[in-house]
């Protein structure tokens, strides 16, 4: 199992770290160099952490944990109006991004109100394309209790964020609610931290389930294989988004067949993946379990 961490440091000898990662069978997920600042998202086998830490220490950089790395999270608010965005919607999205997740934000078309709140079938499908969802609701206990019924139909792990601190709901973090300014005070950051921990636990449950029935190949490995054949175009941001059980590939229709012919180990991608067009962006590759498709080596 890969461990994903973030390296922050200078450009001094950072290529040595990249080489070390490749030598131990790890991958570079994201790389960004801003003048003299370097940021790398590294994925490497968990047992090699000590060696990486030693190298980072030698380079004078820092290594941060990314508890949500390798996941795509959908943050859902009842609407994209002033009442919910930009605060706290963007604060939550940004905080989760700092913890390694790729986040999308979504406002429901008819999600406002208590009795009248609805979620369309298409919205449900879009939310279910991600690994987990975070529902951000308002200040009123009665409204949240009613709206949670909307979330219950979702088939992916989800959590609810709202105002009242003492609501007895599953995977609920209170104390956020409606905001008129940025969440930058200590108490608010602690709340966001608490929310991340809760989300981490939900995702850990999903990962545990997946470990019982392992995938034919890791999404990280498939990403590497795709990038070898189809390198990212200049200026393109995150053309491949990693999910826990697959990938979102942002390609045009013309590349659809080409991507399925990519070889992963001894098999073709079409043999170990199911591909469908995303309702939101690009294509979704869902990796089949090893028990169904057989191993790639």
């Amino acid at each position: 199992m890969y461990k994903i961490m973030m390296f922050e440091g200078g450009v001094y000898k950072y290529t040595e770290l990249k080489e070390l990662i490749e030598d131990i069978g790890g991958l570079i997920l994201q790389e960004s160099i801003m003048q003299t600042e370097t940021m790398l998202h590294l994925a490497f086998p968990g047992e090699e952490e000590r060696e990486i830490r030693n190298k980072v220490k030698e380079l004078g950089g820092k290594l941060h944990d990314l508890p949500l790395a390798g996941t795509e999270i959908m943050i859902v608010v009842p609407s994209l109006g002033k009442h919910h965005s930009v605060n706290p919607l963007c604060d939550i999205a940004e905080f989760l991004r700092r913890k390694g997740a790729i986040t999308n934000v979504m406002g429901l078309a008819r999600g406002v109100g208590k009795r009248i709140a609805q979620m369309t079938a298409q919205e449900k499908e879009i939310i279910e394309e991600c690994d987990a969802a975070v529902f951000v609701f308002g200040d009123f206990k009665e409204c949240i209790e009613e709206k949670v019924k909307l979330c219950e139909i979702i088939e992916i792990p989800y959590m609810v964020v709202g105002g009242p601190p003492d609501l007895e709901l599953e995977h609920y973090v209170g104390g956020i609610g409606r905001k008129t300014d940025r969440m930058r005070r200590k108490g608010e950051i602690d709340k966001l931290e608490e929310m991340t921990v809760e989300l981490g636990e939900i995702l850990a449950e999903k990962m545990m389930e997946m470990e019982e029935d392992p995938l034919a190949a890791s999404p990280l490995f498939i990403k590497e294989m795709i990038e070898m054949i189809m390198p990212p175009k200049a200026g393109e941001e995150l053309p491949l988004v990693i999910h826990l059980d697959g990938l979102r590939v942002k390609i045009g229709e013309e590349d659809e067949e080409r991507i399925m012919d990519i070889e992963v180990g001894e098999k073709k991608l079409s043999e170990i993946c199911e591909m469908k067009k995303s309702l939101y962006e690009g294509y979704l590759l869902k990796i089949l379990p090893e028990a169904v498709s057989g191993g790639v080596f």
Binding site: G81, H83, K114, I116, A117, D139, G177, R178, T180
Partner: protein, 184 residues
Amino acid sequence: MEVNIEGEDEFANKSYEKICQDAFRNIGVRTSIDHTYLYCNPMEHVFIISVKIGRVSSPVKVGDMTQRGKDKLKITDEKYAPRLLAMLWDKYGKRVQQVSRLEIGLKLEEEEIEALRDLIVYDPRDDLIPRILDGIDRILPEGARVRSTIPSTSRITIIASENPIEEDWKKKAEEMVSVVSEHV
């Protein structure tokens, strides 16, 4: 601006007090409001907001936001610059030109320039009510789209709900507002 929130949920009351203060401040009408009263009943989904309008700041004249130079005006408060330019172009046409970001060149007679300094650029009274209504819209929960107003000379009172507003609620709101008005 004083804010009173009435509701059963302690957290929501506190939060809505801040929302009221911030929403009106962001729109720039907080100083023109004396008192805001908000009643929240999420159980029946009825929200009543009543805003008492207070003193409104005096109109901004050309002389208040510019400094006189030789054949030109220097803008000291850029916030009103678009309004000022639109007004001057409308009145004097090509005889007024924007020389640089904060300078306006004038090809006017001395008497015209003197008279110009007393022209009103912006009167906060003109758009006070639409701005307060915008603030109220931002405060009230989004789902409460069915609205009903209670007429009054010095107050704006709105009942909002997601359900049709019943006569009982209107009566209740009138009573509540009259009680609040007595205390303020």
